[in-house]
Amino acid sequence: MIHVTEVSLEYDTPHGKVLAVDKASFSAAESEFVCLVGPSGCGKTTLLNMIAGFFPPSAGEIRVAGRPVSGQGLDRGIVFQDFAQLFPWRTALGNVAFGLEMKGVAKEERERVALAQLRLVKLEKFAGAHPHHLSGGMQQRVAIAALTREEMQRLLAEVWRTTRKTIVYVTHNVAEAVYLADRVVVMTPHPGRVKAVVGIRLPRPRDPLSVEFLEQQKSLIAHLTRQEEET
């Protein structure tokens, strides 16, 4: 059980204080799968870091299993989206092409496909760069370009089904949130606030092509775009 109550966080920067999270509240019940969604910079990572106990909130309280969080603890695991599994000796392109190479796809074809994949994550300019010359986020995008989305979702859903852990998961992908979550916390940036908490009551396993799924997805997108109009 995770309770986040009126949590705020200010970052100290050379240009003054930045309010990254402003009085955010939500909770995740035992074995619940909660997704945090929202545009870049709305404080998702910051919130996750505080739940993990990497740093304390400036105000408000976070409780896990009834006890206030102080520091890291064995009761919480955190998995960063840093897929450190990129091969350092391969370029971004070479990394994305690896799977195809193993399937025996010819060099030209697999490089064409891999470049298209990289274009999807807007990294085609970095096709020839080795991972250590890319930022953490760019490395993640390379890994994502190499991984099919379905692979990742299936993996996550499987982990949750078998372990029944309480999960707080950060994503930018609305379909992914609808596919995985019991509840979706929609956040808005500058300052990071919780805009809405939306319950997803579709039976599992979920069919991303079903009418209910698409409806649910539409209403979430409506939440997100409405907030963008406001800002």
């Binding site: 599994q85 091969f87 000796w89 190479e101 991972p131």
Partner: protein
């Protein structure tokens, strides 16, 4: 007085070195030595790589060879020189075997360690993308172990270089930088001895800096698997 003497020695050695370089004798000695080093080193690298990888991959191979390596490694390679001379006579074979003996162990140990130190995430990721035995070995294990392998080569070269000079003193019938020193000793020619030592040092330095330096720059440094300290 002393300083005059040492300046004098430098001058004499310089002159001798110049003369020996000029008439080609030093070059010929150096080529002989280099030939022996490379034969021994090539044999050692091949043996070390094969044995190291097999030891890392197959438990019984490790169980059989590890004690053997541990027992043989501490024996100075030069101590074998008389044995090899007894078996193979004076000349290249005995010298190359001494070099081989000296260079093999760092190669085995480093390859073995490197193969076991390959990041399991890479192995798992490659496996998930369908890499089988051969591809896994050539495209993941070998590059993944490359920082260790390069270190192994470096150490192997250094030990080979040390060994060859000693071995030549005992086993070479004519030619070789070590043999020059041994031969000069008979006539108390300190300047020739020192000239040869200078060449031995210079060649070792050049290899260390140029060959291994650039090997490292074009691989593990470029891939970010090892880093240079900041300024």
């Amino acid at each position: 007085m002393k300083s005059v003497l040492s300046v004098g020695i430098f001058l004499v050695v310089g002159k001798t070195l110049w003369a020996m370089l000029g008439d080609g004798t030093m070059g010929r000695h150096a080529l002989n030595t280099l030939f022996r080093v490379f034969c021994g080193l090539a044999l050692a690298a091949a043996t070390g790589l094969v044995l190291g990888f097999l030891m890392a991959r197959f438990r019984p191979v490790e169980r059989f060879f590890l004690p053997l390596v541990s027992a043989l490694m501490p024996i100075p390679s030069l101590a074998w020189a008389p044995v090899f001379i007894l078996w193979f006579g004076l000349g290249n074979t005995a010298t190359i075997l001494v070099v081989f003996y000296a260079a093999t162990f760092p190669m085995v140990i480093n390859t073995w360690t490197g193969a076991r130190a390959v990041n399991p995430l890479w192995l798992r990721a490659a496996g998930a993308m369908g890499a089988n035995g051969g591809a896994m070995f050539w495209k993941v294990v070998v590059p993944g172990a490359s920082p260790f392998i390069i270190t192994g080569l470096r150490l192997a070269f250094q030990r080979a270089w040390i060994a060859v000079v000693g071995a030549e003193m005992l086993a070479a019938s004519a030619f070789g930088l070590g043999w020059v020193i041994f031969d000069a000793k008979e006539f108390l020619n300190a300047d020739i001895m020192l000239a040869s030592l200078a060449v031995i040092g210079a060649i070792g330095f050049v290899f260390e800096r140029l060959v291994f330096g650039s090997l490292e720059r074009s691989t593990v440094l470029r891939w970010g698997m090892v880093r240079n300290v900041k300024a």
